[in-house]
Structure formats: C-alpha cells, structure tokens
C-alpha cells in the first residue's frame, strides 16, 4: 500500500469509528441510566437493544410501505418509535420481576442483593434472546434503505489519491443519536422528573423522606434505560445485519463503554461508547476482522483491571 492508501484507510476507519461510536454512545447512556439510578447491572441490556432492532425492522416494513417518502425517513422514525415501545416493555418487566430483587425495601444483604439482580437479568437475557429466536427466526436481517448504501464522497484530497466515502444513512443516524442524548441530558438536568431520578440515585432513603416515590423512579429509570438503548439498536439496524443473539456481543460493548466512562456518569458513558466504537473500527488497521470483538473484550478487561473507575470517572469509589 502506498502512503496515501494508508491515510485513506485510516481516515475511512476513523469516520466509521466516529459514526458507529456515536450510536454506541447512545446505547451506553441507556445502560448508564439504569446503573446510575438503580445500581443494577442489567445483563439483558443487549437483548433490549435487539428488541429495538426488530421493532424498528417491522415498524419500517409497515411505515415504508404506507407513507409518502416512507423509505427515506421511515428507518429513523422506526428507530425513534422503538424507544417508547421498549420503554413500556421495560416498565412491565421492572414491575413484574426486577422490583422484587432491587429497591430500597429489599432485606437481603447488600452483596447478595447484587447477585440476585445479576442473575435475574441474566435469566431475562436468555429468555429474550432465545425467545427472539423462536419469534423472529435465526436468519440475519437488516433494514435496507436507499440512504444506507449512498455515500457522500469527500475528496479527492491529498493530491489525487485520497477519496473518502461517508455513508449518508449512518451519518444521519449518528446525528439523531446525538440529538437523543442531548434531549435526554436536558430532561435529566432540567425537569422535575429528572431531579427526582437523580435524587433517588443519590440517596434513595433521603429521597423517600422528601416524598419521592423511589420505586416509581427506579421503574422509570429502567424504562428510560432500555428505551434509549433500543433507539440505539434501531439506528444501528439500518447498517448492521442482526439476529436474535446479537445482544451478547453488544452488552460487552456497552459495558466497556460505561466502565470506560465511569459507572454511573451519563456524559462519561457517551464518550466511553464513542471511544469503544473508535477502538473497534481502528483495530482493523492491525488485527484481522474476526478479532475486532476480541480487541474490545481485551480493551474492556484492561480498563476494568487498571482503571475500574473509568477514564472519565469521578473520584474513586470502591465497588
């Protein structure tokens, strides 16, 4: 390869990393809400993302066929609609199951309570992914739109040699992801609900004393968390093929991002996800394709072992 090709290769991967990373960032924000407010590690987060993908897929099929300009905006509308849909699923599951092993009133030892949550959500993850196999079949699918195969072409730069292709569909998806993050951050910061959630996160007992329904706050946080991740899944669905077992790969991606940003920090989670997207794409420079995910896992292990409080984390807090 010539030097120009190297540069082109690098820039292409950098752009891909930024675009995918932004969507990862959105998914990480979802996971981080759940951890930040409830202190629950949700292993089923990847499955909620998967649900978002399938919701967007079927919704797209419906909208795309029925509405004018359908196939241009439908992928994004579908992805956004996956949010409220999965939000409701999350609320229901929290009410039925998760509430029983978490929350202020649980009498179990703190450490045992954590295990109950971890194991419960692992069970949920198995039910959802294998249930997904039953419901949706195992064939990989994706949402294909005119935009997802149309690039903007930048260049030629660097003399005549460097041509960059920027996928329009993915770029728009990334911009939408940023918009969702900003809206959610404003909601958390400015609104009454956001303040209640943050209070419940900070000190559940004190929050109860000042009249906040902590159980409801947890439920809403869980709904928000899975809903936001589902939007991320929906946005990813138009560029990445998926099948019901896809969750497990992404749950690690998300945890890597969240841990990198410091467990519980929303902005940290976003930039953590972005970094993971970059690591994943840029690792293609020196690793074979199949090992891209291994690169993420190794990166994840290194972060968790050497900087468990995250690169962007707050002051040290013992686990």
């Amino acid at each position: 390869m010539t030097a120009a090709q190297h540069v082109e290769n690098f820039l292409q991967l950098l752009i891909a990393g930024l675009v995918t990373g932004t969507i990862y960032g959105l998914m990480c924000v979802g996971l981080s809400v759940i951890f930040g407010v409830m202190r629950v590690i949700n292993f089923a987060q990847g499955e909620f993302m998967m649900l978002g993908m399938y919701f967007a897929y079927y919704c797209f099929g419906f909208i795309g066929a029925h509405i004018f300009f359908g196939d241009l905006i439908a992928p994004y509308v579908s992805a956004l609609l996956a949010g409220p849909a999965v939000f409701l699923v999350g609320i229901a599951l929290h009410r039925l199951l998760i509430r029983q092993v978490t929350g202020v009133g649980s009498t179990v030892l703190e450490s045992e309570g954590h295990y109950a949550q971890l194991i419960l959500t692992l069970g949920l993850s198995l039910i959802l992914s294998n249930g997904g196999l039953v419901a949706f079949g195992s064939a990989p699918i994706s949402i294909s739109t005119p935009l997802s195969s149309t690039p903007w072409i930048v260049g030629p730069l660097y003399g005549e040699d460097v041509l960059l292709f920027i996928n329009q569909g993915q770029t728009i998806a990334a911009l939408i992801a940023i918009a969702v993050v900003v809206v959610f951050a404003l909601l958390m910061r400015r609104s009454r609900l956001g303040r209640a959630l943050r209070a419940a996160a900070d000190n559940p007992e004190a929050a109860i004393y000042v009249g906040i329904d902590v159980d409801r706050a947890y439920r809403i946080a869980f709904g928000f968390g899975v809903g936001i991740t589902a939007i991320g899944g929906g946005l990813l669905a138009s560029s990445h093929p998926f099948q019901p077992y896809i969750g497990i790969d992404y749950v690690i991606v998300m945890y890597a991002g969240v841990v990198l940003g410091g467990l519980g920090s929303l902005s940290g989670a976003f930039f953590g996800g972005l970094t993971i997207g970059l690591v994943q794409q840029l690792s293609a420079l020196f690793l074979p394709n199949q090992l891209q995910n291994t690169a993420i896992f190794v990166c994840f292990l290194l972060i968790i072992l050497f900087k468990p409080d995250g690169l962007f984390g707050r002051a040290a807090r013992r686990a």
Partner: protein, 592 residues
C-alpha cells in the same frame, strides 16, 4: 452438630452413586445413555462453579473459559500428539487450574459487579480467538486400532460410569473442603472480606486456591464433554450458555452445598434435553428460554435454591424437637473451663512493643494523618482520643495494613511492618475490632471466632477449642450457637473481641468498642478488657470521648487534625490546656 452428620453424608453420596450407576446399567437406548452422561458432566461443572462462587460469593459468569480450554485441549492434544484422553483429561484439569490462577491474579482485585463483568469477558474473547485460529469445528479422531486406550467405547454405558466417577470425585472433594478451613475461610470472605483479612485470613491466597480448583474441575469436565460429544465448536464450549449452565444448575439446586449442583443438573438437563428433542424443529430457542425461566423463577421464588428450600420445609415439618436438640447441644462447652493460654509472656527489655515514627497519609488533598510518632509500651492500655476526623481510624488502618502509609515507619517488636497485608500483620500478633462491627452475619458466633482462631492453629479441632475458650473469656458462651446476624450490639462487640483474641494476639487494636453501649454495658466490656490486659496483652483503644476511658487506660495519646497533640497519664491530659482547647474551644479555657 456436623460430627454425626459427617458419615451420613458419605453414605448419601455413595448411595446416590450406586443408584445412578445401577440405573445406567439397564439403559439400552443410546440417546438416554448420552443424556445420563451429560447430566453428570453438567453437575461437575456446577460443582466447579460452586467451589469458587458458591462459597466465596464472587459470581463468575466466565466458567466457559475453563470448560472450553479443557475441551479443546483434549481434542487438539489427541489430534496433534495422539495423546489419549485418559491422560488428556487430567492434564486438562492442570491446565484449567493454571488458567484459573492466570485469570484470578488480575481479576481478584475487583469485587462485586466488576468481578462478574470481567469474568464474562474471558470466554467471549477466547471464543473469537478460537474461531480466528480456524477451530470452528474440531472432531475427535477415531482410533480404530486401540479404541479403549483412547476412551472410545461402543457401549455408551461406559461413559455414564466415567462421568459418574468424575462426579463422585468432585463431590468428595467439595464435601471435604466444605467442612475444612477452605469452606470456612471462603464463607467468611463472602460475608465480609475486610473483616476476614483483618482476622488473619489471606483472602487473596484462598480465592486463588478456589479459582484454581474450580477452573481445574471445570476444565476436566470440559475434556470429558469433548470425548463424549466427539465434536467441539467454539460456541458449544465457550458460549455464554455454558457459563450460564454452570451457574444455573448450582443456583437452582442450591449454592454452597454439594447437593445443589447435582439436584440442579438432574432436574434441568433432562428437562431441556426433552424439550429440545420435542420442539427443536418448531421452536429452536426453547432450551435457552427454559433455562432463563428457571433462573428467574429461582431468584424470585427460592433465591437460596431447591436444596435449602426443601431442607427448610422438612425441618419445619419435623418441628420443635429439632430446635430443642440444637439448643441443648452447646452445653458441654461451659463445663470444661478455659484451657487455652491466651497470656503473653512478659518481656523485660524495656523496648516498646509498637513504635510509630513520622507516619503520614493523605487521601487526595486531605491529610488524614500527618507526621504521627508514638510508642506503645508492652502490657499497657493506651487510649488514643481525639475529636471526629482527627485521624484515629486511619491510624488504625495504617497500623493493621488496610492502608499503606505515604511516609513514616511502623515497627512491631523490632520488625518493620509497613506495607504488609493485613492478614500478615494479624499473624504477627495484631488483632483488631471495628468502629462499625463487621460480623460474618450468616455464621454462628462460634464459627465467627473459629475463623479468627485459624491464625493460631492449622488444625480444625484445635481451632474449635481455642474459639470456645475465647468466647468463654469474653463471657459469650451462652450465645455461641446464635447466628451473628441476630445478636445485640454488646454481644457483637464482644464477639469481635473474641474473634481477635482467638488469634492469640500480643496487641489488640479496639476501634470505638464502647460506641452505642449503655453505661452498664460499658462497665461490663471494660471489665473484660482489664481481664485481657492482665493476661499481658497490650491494648490500644480509640475513643472520641474521654469519660469512660479515664477509668481504664494507663496513658493517653491525643490526636487532632492528624497529628499528636498531647501525650500523658489521664490526670495530665484532663488538665492539659491545649487538649481542652481542641475539644471545647478557646472560650472554655478561662473556666478550666
């Protein structure tokens, strides 16, 4: 209580093996033979998981890493070196143990959530590596010239017996360890790792032993699995379902017991195999769904697992006579009197027992302890007092090794102990109690103290005797069989004292031992402390008030803002102007 149960347990294990073997003898259908074999293999994996996670409470989501390494090792070794599984499986066990150590050394720095998450990453990383290496589907080569030498049998029943042998060995191992120092130490770690470390348990060493045994057993099971299944794929041995299966059979059956994983495997594996055979064509994911539902149901309905649930129900049905027997049991302890010698030989060299020079420690910008120097004389009761935030607890944490000093020197009996781990310092004869009590809540008072006694002896029976005597010295004999989670504050304080005493310390560090006690209770505890001092044990007590302390201590050291403010006899200190100023403010000086 477990003395009499011990032999019965072995009978149960033997009886189970005989019954299962007999049943296996009469099964002709090769499909059922396979299921009977696989049930046993998953039971072994569950037991392996239980050895680490069940006893220590560190949940592993990554046992597939060991299982998969074992499976691939056996197959690849046979292909590459024509190594027979008869040798390959034990070697896989050794490999798994080494992998356990390799994983454990970095990962045990993490606790709780972080540990579970990190463990998840190992098998998934390996999965992709094995795919990349081109081992998508590796088959065990057929050895027609000498099938038996390569563990290849036409009769499927042989595999049942092989797996049964592995399971019985695993059960015997678990059972032996459960009732030994291993089980006790891990149980203590599970409930309060800090307290376990301070009580002299080398927590890292025990956890490493646990993960090595656990990984070895899981890898051996993986090796046998490969021999039975004939084909190994990355997903079938490194996949999340394998890790989940290990955890599910153990959680479902009951954690922390030999029978839990066996019950779990006997129930869930045939169930899922049946569902799979019946519905795989129509509903391909149904096996995973059933596992998921089983996990969720167990966590919600019987978080302690089927074994414990059944046992509780049976004991309740048996009714009151069981509890009456339990209540009567600890009586003999009172009759024997104290035999253990807790006294410390007096030394006349006049050198201080503990000497601290220029000790400093900052947390971020906060100087918790700055330039503290003090001596603790042999056999004295030294009171360290100071207002809240004066650095008292940090000083103790520095002395017993929880915190490493930024500067300065700590010398115990002429030996520098800076930077030693707490369990080492405990072994050197420094016992401590905590400002906020740290009991092992789910263990009896006696067991709490036995954990402390492991520092003094390696022998379980002797540890039991020492613990009984330590409990008698602090006057808790009546509550010895009570669960530590359910006793009063005073009893908890005394239990911590007994736990520290059981290590036969030369120096006791007592952190606000009078906190939350009534006036009468303070007098009782004080009498016990005096008794310990008479035995020659040197005692350092932290308090933020002087009142009670003036009647107890030989000497005071006053700390304020992380530095020594004054030092002297109780009379001197109560009259010291600087001390009064620090405690009460300048305006009181005029009245003093």
């Amino acid at each position: 209580m477990f003395e009499q149960g011990r032999h019965r347990h072995w009978l149960w294990i033997g009886g189970f093996g005989a019954a299962y073997g007999l049943l296996g003898l009469f099964v002709e259908n090769s499909y059922y033979q396979l299921i009977m074999t696989v049930v046993l293999i998953w039971a072994v994996v569950g037991l392996a998981w239980n050895l680490l996670s069940g006893y220590s409470g560190l949940i592993s989501f990554g046992h597939a890493a060991f299982f998969g390494l074992g499976a691939y090792f056996v197959v690849l070794a046979q292909i590459t070196w024509r190594l027979s599984p008869w040798l390959g499986i034990p070697l896989a066990g050794v490999l798994g143990g080494m992998a356990g150590l390799l994983v454990g050394v970095p990962t045990f720095r993490l606790r709780g959530h972080y540990f579970a998450l990190a463990m998840l990453a190992y098998p998934l990383a390996l999965l992709y590596v094995f795919e990349w290496l081109g081992y998508q589907e590796v088959a065990v080569p057929m050895m027609r010239e000498a099938p038996g030498a390569f563990m290849q049998f036409a009769d499927g029943r042989v595999y049942i017996f092989l797996s049964l042998a592995l399971l019985l060995a695993a059960m015997a191992l678990s059972r032996t360890l459960e009732r030994s120092r291993y089980g006790m130490s891990l149980l203590a770690i599970k409930q309060d790792e800090t307290a376990a470390e301070a009580a002299g348990i080398d927590t890292l060493l025990w956890k490493l032993r646990a993960i090595a045994l656990s990984g070895g057993l899981a890898a051996a099971a993986g090796g046998l699995y490969a021999v039975v299944q004939l084909i190994v794929t990355p997903l079938s041995v490194f996949g999340l379902l394998v890790s989940a299966q290990a955890l599910v059979v153990a959680m479902f059956g009951g954690v922390g017991t030999v029978w839990g994983p066996v019950i779990g495997a006997l129930t869930l594996v045939p169930l899922s195999a049946f569902l799979d055979a019946r519905f795989a064509e129509v509903l391909p994911g149904i096996q995973g769904v059933i596992y998921g539902v089983a996990i969720v149901a167990v966590v919600i309905l019987a978080p302690e697992g089927v074994f414990w649930k059944i046992r509780d129900v049976l004991e309740r049905r048996r009714g009151t006579n069981g509890t009456a027997a339990a209540a009567a049991a600890p009586a003999p302890a009172r009759a024997t009197g104290v035999q253990t010698d807790f006294s410390v030989a007096a030394s006349d060299d006049g050198a201080p027992l503990l000497s601290v020079r220029g000790l400093a420690k900052s947390f971020g910008g906060l100087r918790a302890v700055s330039d503290v120097s003090l001596d603790v004389r042999r056999g004295e009761i030294l009171g360290i007092i100071g207002p809240n935030g004066a650095g008292k607890t940090t000083l103790f944490n520095l002395l017993n090794g929880f915190v490493t000093a930024d500067a300065g020197e700590i010398t115990l009996d002429g030996e520098r102990i800076n930077g030693r781990r707490p369990n080492r310092i405990c072994r050197r004869g420094v016992g401590r109690t905590f400002q906020v009590v740290k009991p092992f809540s789910r263990m009896s008072v006696a067991d709490n103290v036995i954990v402390g006694a492991y520092v003094a002896t390696a022998d379980l029976d002797e540890a039991r005797d020492i613990a009984r005597d330590a409990i008698a010295v602090v006057g808790l004999t009546g509550a010895a069989s009570a669960l530590a989670g359910g006793i009063s504050n005073k009893q908890l304080r005394l239990m911590e004292l007994a736990r520290a005493l059981a290590s036969k310390p030369t120096l006791l560090l007592l952190d606000e031992i009078f906190a939350g006690l009534s006036r009468d209770e303070v007098d009782d505890v004080m009498a016990i402390i005096r008794r310990l001092a008479k035995l020659g044990i040197t005692i350092v007590i932290i308090e933020h008030t002087m009142q009670a302390m003036v009647r107890l201590v030989d000497r005071f050291v006053v700390l304020d803002h992380g530095a020594v403010l004054a030092e002297g006899s109780p009379e001197e200190i109560t009259r010291n102007r600087i001390v009064i100023e620090a405690y009460l403010g300048t305006k009181w000086l005029a009245d003093a």
